[in-house]
Symmetry: C2
Subunit: 256 residues, 2 copies
């Protein structure tokens, strides 16, 4: 049976996240997985299960989510994309499609993922608060020192136990992850990007990591305290979870 890989972009604003959710005694929630599955099934006229690489939370966006599904029907990827696309709502797009080996697992085979967090900052609400990009950019009114944020970010790179930067850690699974890159980029108009990539991420990890960088940027935490924060392995040491709208899954990588 052919297996297909899709690269998907979506505006997470009006979605209850990636993963299908069907609360008891209620209508299914609107999710990206639900919409994509429906569009694929209408395109190939078969029952299909679409598995995504990353279960992005409600309000989180993606420019390069990866998903896969099997179906009996053999279709040219280009034609498949067009068929799915015309059946998708205007806040999801299939960017690429490919036939992949039957063993391809979008979660297990993933070697690296990249996230970007967009942030606007500045005291004057009237001019620093995002307007046209407010669904894609979080805002803090604190003045931020970008250099100390950069110094703090460097401490996250490498293999660490990130228990301090996650939520709902039941202690059953390892909280050790390897971060390949964590970069703070200053942009015009008091905006910045935090780009983080790694072999895997814990629940809410990027959003708590950015919250922690903001604490450093506003001077409440020292960049040099990051190693001790990680070593504490305790959520109480991380900072607030930043809101979802600033976060975007940029890419998912397979193989070296």
């Amino acid at each position: 049976m052919p297996r297909y890989k899709l690269t998907i972009a979506y505006d997470g604003t009006a979605f209850h996240g990636w993963q299908k959710q069907h609360p008891p005694d209620a209508k299914p929630l609107r999710t990206v997985q639900g919409e994509v599955e429906k569009a694929v099934m209408e395109s190939v006229r078969e029952k299909v299960h679409v598995l995504g690489a990353s279960r992005t939370d409600a309000g989180v966006h993606a420019r390069g989510q990866v998903a896969a599904f099997n179906c009996e029907q053999v279709m040219e990827p280009e034609r498949l994309i067009e068929a799915i696309t015309t059946r998708l709502p205007d806040d999801v797009q299939v960017l690429e499609g490919a036939v992949v080996p039957e063993t391809f697992d979008p979660i297990q085979d993933c070697t690296s993922k990249g996230y970007r967090y967009q942030l606007a900052w500045g005291r004057r609400r009237a001019t620093s608060r995002p307007l046209f990009d407010r669904h894609y950019t979080a805002w803090t009114h604190y003045a931020l020192d970008i250099d100390s944020m950069r110094a703090a970010a460097a401490h996250f790179v490498g293999e660490h136990d990130f228990a301090s930067l996650t939520r709902l850690n039941h202690g059953r699974e390892s909280t050790v992850r390897t971060i390949h890159d964590c970069t703070v980029t200053a942009l015009e108009d008091d905006r910045l990007h935090v780009d983080v990539s790694g072999d895997g991420f814990l629940y809410n990890m990027v959003r708590i990591l950015v919250g922690t960088l903001i604490e450093v940027g506003r001077g409440r935490l020292a960049a040099e305290s990051m190693p001790a924060l990680l070593e504490a392995r305790d959520r109480g040491h991380g900072s607030v979870t930043m809101p979802p709208e600033g976060l975007c899954l940029m890419w998912v990588q397979y193989g070296a």
Copy 2:
């Protein structure tokens, strides 16, 4: 009594346009004028009438709308902006405030206005259709020849009767306007801007003008036919009205 001038930006997506509307036997519609007036009145604690320079339609955006109001209270413009801003919803912002002469009329005194229309084009729906900027960019699947659009746009510059490019022309008012500039700018990813400025605009004029340029770009009208189209002074000669989301009021100018 002091008179204040405000420069206002808004995301028009969730508004029924600028102008207050109160249908009989129904709740008032959500309008920019309504929201701004409410925020101003809460700030100055007086009944206030806010007059805008341009009555933008439902779904049309603004980066530089201008409005004015009188109130008894004397306030530092900076403090006034902050007071209004904290009372505005997150899709409207007051960018600037100034005290102006009591005679200042935002409509009558306006010497020039600038609009921008953002358009994405391309046959492949999956990759050319706007996603994250879909509320601010219209889309056409036609392939467009930008050079012929530019040639057509040049014919609109100057003083002309624009009756062919308006809707609801009751013949009571003059349809002669002077266009100062009409420029088509090609951008990356098969996107373009049409920037139009002039001393005044008729109802739906920019959206019909852009629709006409698209007809030229896709080869259904010749750029050289624009003078005859204007001379016909008949709406039947203009093209479809393009959707509101691509349009943005960029600035309003007073004085030379």
